[in-house]
């Protein structure tokens, strides 16, 4: 399981082989007249673990999305939490919230249509665009599991659908007893996880174990969706545990964290957090393959920073709506929330990063800032005007190659793709027209072509 902060222990001798899966469905929509249209990326997070963290004062509510492909019939999740968790502090929730958050916060391409340069003529090109709401499918069949007596004094032990949750009391959860407890009930603790668990135990972290019995889960399809677990706790420690997530992993893990705060944008204090480059004009063809384009942008920038940074992909205040806010855990325990704007002062931040134990040796320490400036990764493509049969039209057409060249360069600098190939795709010659012996230039890669002063003052 590629889930952060969770340790997947196989009931058996071997760790399960796992992979991520997410289903998305696309519904094309054709608007009737040309106006700016947004194409939201979908399916870019299939390989990523997802978590929601709500911070409200000293309370944290964490929701973990779990997607698994495994051959084993049962395995367990071990979740480290800073304080003792009571039964009323853990629940299983529907998984739609992740799809909704993803749709709201995904990077997007905005289509714009150039107005006709010729006076009096309207542009009669039909707009075509696709909006892509993703719909997560799947769900677990509900059934009751028998409470097993593990011989350990647990504070609470109950079943919800596919989960058998055991919450260990303060005494049993701390110290070497956890290791004994896990080993006694044949959880095969991977060797690499042992020092991490020991470290958490010494830091006074507590644990709860959620055992998943796959026999209670619909296995008719290849991919299995387990419902997210939501847990809340009070602690001054605002952190995101990632160390356990690297234990099972063959390579770098990818994580998307949706974080909510009444103050503003959330960032890490022990790692660099920067905004993903956004706002560029890109070649038209990108809109038909935006998912792969954005994946390339993400990959390229991750490599550029050698996996040492977190990327902010979205900041938005009051954008979720009361239903979605409640699904993140806000208002948990309140009987009825009449005011639909009750949580509109919460800012949603989306952080997306790739990590392994070398680039991210410590857990993330987070802080709330009061920055509420909206941000969303978006790029623009421009449809050229079709009615250009006038003198102004000729001058408009003459400027188009230069614009295409800039768009190609912007795409090359964002993705690291070869500039010549991009220029070819937009109908430009692979190299710029030779002038009077131009000097040798390096291919555009790495930082965008901005001078030092531009970078300071823009």
């Amino acid at each position: 399981m590629k889930a952060i902060g969770l340790l997947v222990l196989a009931l058996g001798a071997f760790a399960p082989s796992v992979a991520q899966a997410m289903c998305g469905c696309m519904v094309p929509i054709r608007p009737k007249r040309p106006r700016p249209n947004q194409i939201v990326a979908k399916k870019i997070l299939n390989e990523a673990s997802k978590v929601i963290l709500v911070r409200n004062g000293e309370q944290t509510i964490m929701t973990m999305s779990n997607d698994v492909i495994t051959d084993y019939d049962a395995f367990g999740l071990v979740v480290p939490v800073p304080t003792v968790i009571k039964k009323k502090d853990v629940r299983v929730v529907g998984d739609q919230i992740f799809a909704r958050l993803e749709k709201l916060t995904n990077p997007r391409v905005v289509e714009k249509w150039d107005p006709s340069p010729c006076p009096g003529l309207g542009d009669i090109a039909m707009a075509e665009g696709a909006r892509a709401p993703s719909v997560a499918s799947g769900g677990a069949r509900r059934s009751r599991a028998k409470a097993a007596d593990y011989g350990v004094k647990v504070e609470a032990h109950y079943s919800v659908g596919e989960y058998d949750i055991a919450i260990l009391s303060a005494k049993q959860g701390a110290g070497a007893k956890l290791m004994k407890w896990l080993n006694k009930f044949h959880y095969a603790v991977p060797e690499e996880a042992v020092p991490v668990l020991q470290s958490y135990i010494k830091q006074n972290m507590k644990f709860f174990v959620a055992k998943v019995d796959f026999r209670k889960v619909d296995r008719s399809k290849k991919r299995v969706f387990l419902r997210p677990i939501q847990v809340r706790y009070e602690t001054p420690r605002f952190m995101l545990p990632v160390r356990l997530g690297t234990v099972n992993a063959a390579g770098p893990q990818e994580l998307v964290a949706y974080m909510l705060s009444p103050k503003g944008r959330i960032e890490a204090t022990n790692y660099r957090t920067i905004k993903m480059p956004s706002g560029q004009d890109l070649p038209m063809y990108v809109k038909n393959d935006f998912e792969n384009t954005y994946k390339a942008i993400f990959d390229f920038h991750t490599k550029k920073h050698e996996m040492h940074v977190l990327f902010t992909e979205y900041v938005g205040r009051g954008t979720l709506g009361i239903d979605n806010y409640k699904k993140t855990g806000l208002g948990w325990g309140s009987k009825r929330l009449r005011n639909p704007r009750l949580f509109d002062h919460f800012t949603t931040t989306r952080l997306h990063f790739r990590y392994d134990k070398h680039a991210f040796p410590e857990d993330l320490i987070l802080q709330e800032t009061s920055d509420i400036k909206p941000f969303n990764v978006r790029y623009t493509v421009h449809h050229p005007a079709t009615n250009t049969s006038c003198p102004a039209g000729k001058s408009y057409l003459d400027k188009l190659p230069a614009r295409r060249a800039n768009e190609a360069e912007a795409l090359a600098s964002l993705t690291g793709w070869e500039l010549g190939a991009i220029r070819g795709r937009v109908g430009l010659p692979p190299t710029k027209r030779p002038g009077p012996t131009p000097p040798m230039k390096k291919k555009v890669k790495g930082k965008p072509k901005k001078g030092l002063w531009q970078r300071i003052f823009e």
Binding site: R237, T269, P361, Q367, S370
Partner: protein
């Protein structure tokens, strides 16, 4: 008289240059978000406050210390409001004139300004992670920093602080059984190195004697560790230094030494 010789010899000039270079590095390479309005508010208010206060107490207007404080605030203070930025700059500079004991100011001005901002205003924060942590960056920091503190004859505070803090981090890593990559990562923090070389090393707000400075630095390191790993608050370095500042007077009383004056290095 201001000659090339005097410019080069005064460690404050080197500090101003270094802070300006760090600011440029941050905006140009580390992709900090530039905010010219804030920078103007901070620099303008700091210099005006220095001018007005100097006139009131009838001393010569010397912009250097105000510049150092203002540049530090530009690097460290984050807020959405230029009013907060200006107010913090004013508090920073005026604290030198208003909070004094035994003939000198008690608090490192930018340190006090930042803590006041964090405590008094909701709309103020410090981004500890804004430097990232790469070995090369850390190395550069150390080299430049050593030069500055050597010039200001305060390298003992820096070394004692880093040594004590590193020892505490190492002890924690060993106790928890954590890999040493965590310890190294915690030391590679630009915020830590900036604090060690350019904040705690302020010769006017540290004890006069070497023994006093080493004790002071160790106390600040212990306080910072406590805030970070017991209280789990960010910015432990800043809070610890502010709380420890009044101790300087006590340490000078118990362990007297020669008071530091801003004179050119190498002159009498």
């Amino acid at each position: 008289m201001l000659t090339v010789h005097t410019v080069v010899r005064d460690p404050r000039h080197l500090q101003i240059l270094s802070l300006a270079a760090l600011l440029v590095y941050g905006f140009a390479w580390l992709e900090w978000e530039p905010d010219h309005v804030h920078a103007t508010a901070i620099l303008g208010t700091a210099l005006v406050a220095q001018l007005v206060a100097s006139r009131i107490v009838d001393v010569r207007f010397d912009p250097r210390s105000a510049l150092i404080s203002a540049l530090s605030l530009c690097i460290l203070l984050r807020t959405t409001s230029p009013w907060v930025a200006g107010l913090v700059a004013a508090v920073t500079v005026l604290s030198k004139f208003l909070i004094r004991s035994n003939g000198r100011h008690v608090f490192n001005p930018s340190n006090l300004g930042l803590v006041a901002a964090l405590v008094l205003f909701d709309d103020a924060w410090v981004s500890g992670g804004q430097w990232g942590s790469t070995a090369f960056g850390a190395f550069l920091f150390v080299c430049v920093g050593m030069l500055i503190v050597y010039r200001a004859e305060r390298s003992d505070v820096t070394i004692a602080f880093l040594g004590a803090y590193a020892a505490l981090l190492l002890a924690r890593a060993l106790y928890l059984g954590d890999p040493l990559t965590i310890f190294v990562h915690q030391l590679e923090s630009g915020a830590l190195l900036l604090f060690a070389f350019l904040m705690i090393s302020d010769p006017r707000t540290t004890p006069d004697s070497r023994a006093g400075r080493i004790l002071f630095a160790s106390a600040v390191a212990a306080g910072a560790y406590f805030v970070a790993f017991v209280l789990y608050e960010p910015n432990g370095l800043l809070y610890s230094l502010v709380v420890a500042a009044p101790l300087v007077r006590l340490l000078d009383h118990l362990l007297p030494g020669r008071r530091f004056e801003w004179r050119l290095a190498g002159t009498a």
